[in-house]
Symmetry: C2
Subunit: 326 residues, 2 copies
Amino acid sequence: MKVNGRHYRTVWLAGSTVYLIEQNLLPFEFKIHEAKTYQETCRAIRTMLVRGAGAIGAAAGFAMAQAFLAKADTAKAKKEIAATRPTAQNLFYAVERVYNSRAPAAEALRIADEDAESCRKIGELGNSLIKSGMNIETHCNAGWLAFVDHGTALSPIYAANNGGKKVFVYVDETRPRGQGARLTAWELKNENVPHAIIADNAGAFLMSRGKVDLMIVGADRIARNGDVANKIGTLEKALAAKEYGIPFYVAAPSSTFDKNCQSGKDIPIEKRSQDEVLYQTGPTKHGKMEEILVCSPGSKAFNPAFDVTPAKYITGIITEKGIVKS
Amino acid sequence: MKVNGRHYRTVWLAGSTVYLIEQNLLPFEFKIHEAKTYQETCRAIRTMLVRGAGAIGAAAGFAMAQAFLAKADTAKAKKEIAATRPTAQNLFYAVERVYNSRAPAAEALRIADEDAESCRKIGELGNSLIKSGMNIETHCNAGWLAFVDHGTALSPIYAANNGGKKVFVYVDETRPRGQGARLTAWELKNENVPHAIIADNAGAFLMSRGKVDLMIVGADRIARNGDVANKIGTLEKALAAKEYGIPFYVAAPSSTFDKNCQSGKDIPIEKRSQDEVLYQTGPTKHGKMEEILVCSPGSKAFNPAFDVTPAKYITGIITEKGIVKS
């Protein structure tokens, strides 16, 4: 998608160098990181310079290709790459595919292209749900930054906007980490999609006043029964959407379905550091990055990172293969 | 209630001086402001050094008494005091009562005592809903800082805790202004009530996992049909509580009922500055207060300050006169 009017992917391979958008600097600085060796690409994955299932998978595939191109010990490299993030399914899949390929670089490029293409397809299919003039709410960042290109929840919005439909997006800021306020807003601004950031608290209010016509979110994992694990707060929005009769869609590549997971009850919920709630980081008006305390000193916080939205609250799941009704 | 182990009210009169907790410095600094003249008390109200319906009303009553004590032009003073905040019902009521009294200082003290007493009574009645071992969620700050003492939503919690019941409080941080994370957490810590701050997004998740037994919130205005206007995000919690069968109570003095208001549809919703969403202020680890940008530069925010929770989602309203079932 576009950044300052120019097209980018989140991660790409040119020669034997992997290029990655430094996502940990966004939205305050836009910078491309060059990883010249597979070890450097591993470091980029480990330090979360690149994030999001699809983008991590592509980066891992490229890292494996780099090991082949450098004639390194590829079995050792495979282990190292697989160990960069403990639970990233796409990462293991990509490393395995490239490792077993007879043309590793081509295979890695193919994985990245497939990710971009399935997201593009999600956009095309999801676009059919969007009418011109709609107000759409989204939660967290399921945009192109989490994939190689296009994204999932935002892909239908980009397809609609680029196709000339008028859309307006309410962006949940998505506390505690603020991926909506920081990444989704940044994406939408660069794609010239009209939008406003809202406090997460404002969602139900807007729905109750008829200000939201459609809600689209991403997914971290989808159980066999259609329950969806996604960023904390997704469940609240789904409940509000149900109450006010607003279509609530999940957009995710079919690889997000976990066949080993019968229902949402089987999905463990990560508890993250309380510091994500207690502190906030950003630039002062002088442009200096500062971390500040935003809570009462000495109080503790509890920080579950995901929640599970039961299938019964979900209108449908938009995948690259079609829209599955819940 | 207690601050560092000592008892305080939010505002009090001694001699002809009004003393006020500087609420705009909390939770990072605890300081008492001395207003020696009615004009100085007016300034404290205007600059929101004192906030909350009950506390503002008491401060306004004291200001009116100060004008009498100083033998000032009391008609002029009455106008000045009434103009400090445009929509504070308690303020007009208190000024009028003191102005028409034959013993202005005694009347002003009485107003403050009545406020504290009705909040204490709310605590006593609300305490009957609390069983030892309960987890209670609350939104925003309906604590003693918003009144003269005890508070509303937090008053039953203080009564339970002081009476030896074990309670644990989940404090919604309450974006964008963070009154939960800042003021409620500060109050609870000073009263030794076990608690954890949560991102507003985490409420429905905790409810879905059986972690919340009771929710109590305050109210800014209550319509004749029982619809409640309160801090943005209250509606989301009420919807989640209803879904998971969790009792959802509103605590407010009976003066919060607006007889001129038929239903929630008649309550105008204040839209506040987008800067409350875009920026956050707090101390760095070096103790320096800084304002930082927490959103993507150049994106706008939309900031409704209140929402309306329909009566059908409210289990009951705890007033000083009894608990009204919705």
